[in-house]
């Protein structure tokens, strides 16, 4: 009897975890209808998307390159969410993380790699933490809605980057050549991440992201700070009665969320672009939210989720080139998937309640 219950419980949990997957055919179907209206064969379009994302070595490695920042941002979003805080500020946190990593490594090129590389990443982490910590503090101290403030922080970070990349941080070579493209100088080679597969863009940052996912899992479920963050998210009132300083942990949750997105920004400059440029983030901040939700806000669930969405982004680019279908289709599908996944929560709740009633 006990065993039977265990099996049933396990099945229930599995179904809950897989529920978001149902969003995918639904979103693809909507996309297909749109494509048909515009006289594009949806099967061909989707085939070029899958082919582009997973069809060959370039596709797979590029998918993983895109999955890396998604996973890092997704981890930050998951921590914040677990603490009851919605972090929409990934985009801005990536930007300031990338700016800080760039500024630091360019100014200390003479330092040895073993010292400069970790410190460069750390600078990105810290900058992201500050960018998340500001709305986190405003939320905790003054009750300012963190969704709105993080959206505003995104816009501010974007303008800050525009200013720095056209002014103080612009590549001196751009001024000399008179082209004035808004990008920084190349970073010293000492901070470039190693390639995992030769002649591709896949870099060791991908491994770091997976390791961090495991660390976040241990942090949230095996440490007392992580436990308190989750308690505050589940029930702030009960946590307060239990003596947990709720506001402090809310602030911490958003600061950590920013720290992970800032790390993503640093990894993106030292792993892929090797310089800070306009449009470096290209929507990772938002897609990371989708990946986190899709992974059910579980750090390990975020790993397959970010590979999936990395593939969607990469395949979307290929589809745009091959079929002239604008990659905005992917953003539309992302939005639909978010709507579907949050809506599907009602079934999860319903099932949980039925479980309780059945004892």
């Amino acid at each position: 009897m006990l065993n039977q219950n265990k099996v049933k419980n396990f099945l229930d949990r599995t179904i809950d975890a897989l529920l978001p997957l149902a969003a995918v055919p639904f979103a693809l179907l909507f996309g297909a209808v749109l494509l048909i209206i515009f006289k594009v064969n949806p099967l061909e379009a989707y085939q070029s998307l899958i082919q582009g994302a997973f069809g060959d070595k370039t596709g797979i490695t590029q998918t993983l390159v895109k999955a890396t920042p998604l996973l890092l941002v997704g981890l930050g979003v998951a921590i914040a969410f677990r603490g009851g805080i919605i972090n929409i500020g990934g985009e801005g946190q990536i930007i300031v993380g990338a700016l800080a990593a760039t500024a630091f490594s360019i100014n200390f090129p003479q330092l040895p790699r073993w010292f400069l590389l970790p410190l460069t990443i750390l600078m990105g982490t810290l900058a992201g933490a500050v960018w998340g910590g500001i709305p986190g503090t405003l939320k905790a101290r003054l009750g300012v809605n963190e969704i709105l403030s993080t959206v505003m922080m995104n816009a501010i970070a974007l303008q800050l980057a525009n200013y720095l990349l056209r002014g103080p941080m612009i590549d001196p070579a751009e001024i000399e050549a008179g082209t004035r493209i808004a990008q920084s100088a190349l970073l010293p080679k000492a901070v470039w991440l190693d390639k995992l597969v030769p002649k591709t863009l896949l870099h060791s940052g991908a491994i770091l992201a997976v390791v961090l996912a495991v660390v976040v899992y241990i942090f949230l479920w095996r440490t007392s700070i992580g436990y308190r963050i989750r308690a505050v998210g589940l029930n702030p009132n009960a946590s307060r009665y239990a003596g947990i300083p709720v506001k402090l942990y809310q602030m911490l949750a958003l600061t950590l969320g920013g720290a992970f997105a800032g790390t993503a920004g640093a990894i993106e400059v030292i792993g892929v672009q090797h310089r800070m440029m306009e449009g470096l983030s290209s929507g990772y901040g938002f897609a990371g939210i989708v990946a986190a939700l899709f992974g059910k806000l579980h750090p390990l669930g975020a790993i397959p989720a970010s590979i999936f969405f990395g593939g969607l982004m990469e395949g979307g680019n290929k589809m745009q080139r091959a079929m002239q279908v604008p990659s905005a289709l992917i953003d539309t599908l992302l939005g639909l998937i978010v709507l579907f996944v949050v809506s599907a929560e009602i079934w999860s709740r319903y099932r949980a309640r039925r479980r309780q009633m059945n004892g």
Binding site: L138, I156, V290, D331, L334, G335
Partner: protein, 310 residues
């Protein structure tokens, strides 16, 4: 800087300030009504983009701006209906649903724009409509009474919404549903019906807000042309303490700062334009900080209603 205090310059800033306030007014008043009934719709920006695109596209294709406006309202209504279904019927977390709706609207409007038009085109928008007599007052007539019809509409909406919310049965029902849905329900007010109505109405108004950009003020459509205005509009609701009059004050402060910022850029005053563009976003955060101090938030904002709970 002395130039700022010359009459023509001031009047110019007032003129463009009133224009810029219009989209905020439509979107924030719509959001005020939805939030008063207890639904936080954070997808305003996405609805505005869809309204801006459909208003522009239909207006251009048919050659009739009113038809464009109608299309924007209809699309706004559909987006509102989607949000209402997700947040009221399916009781989903409203913060994230709103972000989903925004991503969806941003993606879809960009996609449709690229598939149907490809490049930026402009349109002859709603022409200015001089109000007889008032428009002829020297100096201020031009700044205050020579706007297009959608600008006037935005300002008329304020007392109208105030009247509906405070003086009609419908308005009181909206407030009751936001403050105490259990009690409202026990008195026979359908929480579901009221919330569907307000969220759809908010959608229609956000659709108009988008259309004011594309067919009355800027007169073109561009990818992500709102640039986060929809989020600022939501922030203005907090700033205005859920009162149409308060929202009006907030919208005016915002749009005047913006008009001033544009003037600074045109004059080439010595601050980097990036910081000038940053100003409204910084101001929004400051506004949110001050808004919290005099909170009058609807008690059941963003909480789904379940009969027989509590």
């Amino acid at each position: 800087m002395d130039e700022l205090f010359q009459l023509p310059v001031l009047l110019g800033i007032i003129y463009s300030g009133l224009r810029l306030a219009t989209p905020y007014l439509y979107a924030s008043i719509g959001e005020t009504i939805a939030q008063t009934s207890g639904v936080l719709n954070l997808g305003v920006d996405g609805i505005m983009l869809m309204g801006a695109f459909s208003g522009f596209y239909v207006g251009m294709q048919s050659g009739n701006l009113w038809l464009g406006l109608l299309a924007a309202m209809f699309v706004g209504f559909l987006m509102g209906l989607l949000m209402a279904f997700i947040s009221v019927t399916l009781k989903a977390e409203q913060g994230i649903s709103g972000i989903g709706l925004q991503l969806f609207g941003l993606g879809l409007s960009t996609l449709l724009f690229k598939l149907t038009m490809g490049g930026v085109e402009s349109i002859a928008g709603f022409p200015p409509l001089k109000i007889p007599l008032l428009g002829d007052i020297p100096f201020i007539g031009e700044a205050f009474f020579n706007h297009n019809i959608l600008v006037y509409g935005g300002f008329i909406l304020v007392p109208l919404a105030s009247f509906v919310l405070n003086k009609t049965t419908f308005g009181l029902q909206i407030k009751a549903v936001g403050q105490n849905p259990q009690a409202a329900d026990s008195l026979g007010v359908s929480v579901t019906r009221i919330r569907y109505t307000t969220v759809c109405l908010g959608g229609v108004l956000s659709g108009i807000a988008g259309a004011t950009l594309s067919i009355a003020l800027i007169n073109l459509f561009q990818e992500n042309m709102t640039n986060g205005m929809g989020f600022i509009a939501v922030a203005l609701v907090y700033f205005g303490s859920w009162k149409p009059g308060g929202v009006l004050v907030g919208s005016l402060i915002f749009s005047f700062v913006n008009a001033f910022q544009v003037w600074l850029q045109i004059k080439g005053i010595n601050i980097p334009s990036d910081f000038a563009v940053m100003l409204p976003y910084l101001l929004t955060i400051v506004a949110l900080v001050f808004a919290v101090r005099r909170a009058a938030q609807p008690a059941f904002l963003s909480k789904p209603f379940e009969r027989g709970e509590m």
